[in-house]
């Protein structure tokens, strides 16, 4: 077995979605670690935004449970309002955003609001937060999900965060001039939109997984992207950045 945890691999796969110089919404938990790894490796000038009204160059020193925790305030590059930061999204100035959710469908639409009919839901999830804003207005959206059949579904019950909607040009016709899913990073695989419909395809499977296992845990008939292969293992530099700087406590090991 490889000498890294699945979560470490997910963090590093997420980090690779951030390019140098980009402005990204990094949300909470796993993407924060990914932002730290990216800054220390291939993306030293990336900037992280938080919808609470913060921008950071270097990731916070100290554990964050929420975006508003004191370590995220100290040494921030900008402390301001929600509109100032989310407005950058609407102005087309944010390259990528990282979001999660309760369920995702084959067009990358995400539900974090209601399971069942929204008028009489069987489960009430917490809601959008900034996820809908990021999904509609960042240049690329990257979703982080646990790969379970009940979470990767043919069609979500409620679209909190639009992906490619019904595929094809339906996203553009809804008035979303740019953006959409770029990747879905799960604990088993990386999916990416492919083809004219922008349906999520299997782009790579993590070490220890295989195509059948991934397809077996997906709620729709997952197609394989040309050139799909095993997810590239973390490089020594990536693991070093993660373990020696970003996650010295070993939270993600």
């Amino acid at each position: 077995m490889a000498d890294f945890s699945t979560q470490e691999l997910m963090i590093i796969a997420t980090a690779r979605e951030i390019r140098d110089g980009e402005v990204v919404f990094i949300g909470m938990r796993l993407p924060i670690a990914a932002f730290g790894v990216a800054r220390l490796t291939h993306a030293p000038t990336a900037v992280g935004l938080f919808e609470v009204g913060l921008a950071r160059h270097a990731p916070a020193q100290g554990m964050l449970y929420t975006m508003s925790d004191p370590p995220n305030q100290q040494g921030a590059a900008w402390a301001t309002g929600l509109i100032q930061v989310l407005g950058l999204l609407q102005a087309g100035r944010v390259d990528a955003g990282f979001i999660g959710g309760g369920e995702i469908d084959r067009f990358g639409n995400i539900n974090s609001s209601y399971i069942g009919d929204w008028r009489r839901p069987t489960v009430k999830l917490p809601g959008s937060g900034g996820a809908c804003d990021i999904a509609t207005m960042s240049k690329r959206t990257v979703a982080i999900m646990n790969h379970e059949k009940r979470r990767l579904v043919p069609r979500v019950d409620y679209i909190t965060s639009p992906g490619n909607l019904d595929g094809g040009d339906t996203r553009a016709r809804a008035g979303l001039a740019w953006g959409g899913p770029a990747a879905v990073i799960t604990d088993r695989a990386v999916l990416r939109p492919f083809g004219p419909d922008g349906e999520l395809h299997l782009a790579s499977w993590h070490p220890g997984q295989d195509v059948d296992a991934v397809r077996g845990h997906t709620g729709w008939d997952l197609e394989i992207m040309p050139g799909a292969r095993e997810t590239e293992a973390p490089t020594p530099d990536e693991l070093k950045a993660l373990r020696e700087v970003v996650d010295v406590e070993g939270f993600w090991r």
């Binding site: 402390a79 900034g130 804003d133 509609t136 639009p162 001039a177």
Partner: protein, 305 residues
């Protein structure tokens, strides 16, 4: 200037009435006025409409206590724990009372308050388009940009009855300083009919006047100033209080079952007469959350000569 200092029970009693829309958690996960939440529960307020982009735990608590008739928000839950058990029970089972939900995203909620603050009847946004938020919240309206830019979503202005806004320091007249991320605090203060400032510290007017740029909203918009240290516990306040994650997790565990929640509510709210009693009950635990280090802002000179 009018002296606006009031006790917590007096200010809550006078400014927040049954049926009012109340902005809570304007700074998202920091500066949540739990002291005001507790007092609303003790005073048995009913049918409130809570307005909050994210109000980590506080909304859930008020819902469980039966104080809430509607929520206009983007995210309701417990950041440390996940789902809000009382919120789920209210929406899924109508317990303890049914709850109306007005779905927003963070940005559309912020822009609704912006419109309210600055007297715009509505604002056009690009967000929410294509989502079911535009379906489940009937307040939104889809339109075409008359300048040829394609579809837009029109978000009508929101003018809440009350904004509850914790700050690090205020004078007796409502001149106050706020720092760290501001969320929608400025827009809420300017949009609301009444503003309740909850100050961690009361200072002389000269302290506030020394830095007018750290004022988010003018004193003439402030209805009352309440002085309660750590009013935001268990949420953090920049430069003052760390987050009490264990407290959130304990609340999450003990709110899973309705009977356990009622026991929790008695222990931490109903059986305590005021916020001083709450602080006393926290005791050393609260002291451990106090930020003792110093990382001070570089001074800015405002001298005229």
């Amino acid at each position: 200037m009018r002296d606006k200092l009031a006790s917590l029970s007096q200010a809550v009693g006078e400014l927040i009435r049954d049926g009012d829309s109340v902005v809570l958690g304007a700074c998202l996960e920091q500066n949540i006025a739990f002291a005001v939440v507790h007092e609303l529960i003790r005073q048995g307020r009913r049918d409130l409409e809570l307005v909050a982009p994210i109000s980590d735990g506080a909304t859930d608590m008020l819902i469980g206590a039966g104080c809430v008739g509607a929520v206009a928000g983007a995210w309701v839950g417990n950041v440390s724990g996940g789902l809000g058990h009382n919120y789920r029970r209210a929406v899924e089972q109508g317990l303890p009372v049914p709850l109306r939900i007005n779905d927003y995203s963070n940005f559309s909620l912020g822009m609704a308050l912006f419109a309210g603050a600055y007297g715009m009847p509505y604002v056009p946004v690009r967000s929410v388009l294509g989502s079911d938020i535009a379906v489940s919240n009937p307040a939104f309206r889809r339109a075409e940009d008359p300048f040829g830019g394609g579809p837009v979503l029109l978000v009508p202005a929101m003018e809440p009855a009350v904004a509850v806004l914790p700050v690090q320091r205020s004078d007796r007249f409502g001149n106050c300083h706020h720092w760290g991320n501001a969320g929608v605090a400025q827009e809420a203060a300017l949009a609301a009919e009444r503003v309740l400032v909850v100050a961690d510290e009361i200072v002389e007017p000269e302290v506030i006047a020394s830095d007018p740029n750290r004022v988010l909203f003018p004193a003439f918009r402030v209805s009352a100033v309440v002085h309660e240290p750590a009013a935001v516990h268990p949420s953090p306040m920049t430069g003052r209080w760390k987050r009490d994650t264990d407290f959130y997790q304990d609340y999450h565990r003990r709110s899973r079952d309705p009977d356990d929640f009622r026991a929790w509510l008695r222990e931490w709210v109903l059986d305590l007469s005021d916020h001083a009693a709450y602080r006393a009950k926290l005791g050393q635990r609260l002291e451990a959350l106090r930020i003792r280090g110093e990382a001070l802002s570089a001074p800015a000179n405002f001298a005229a000569e």
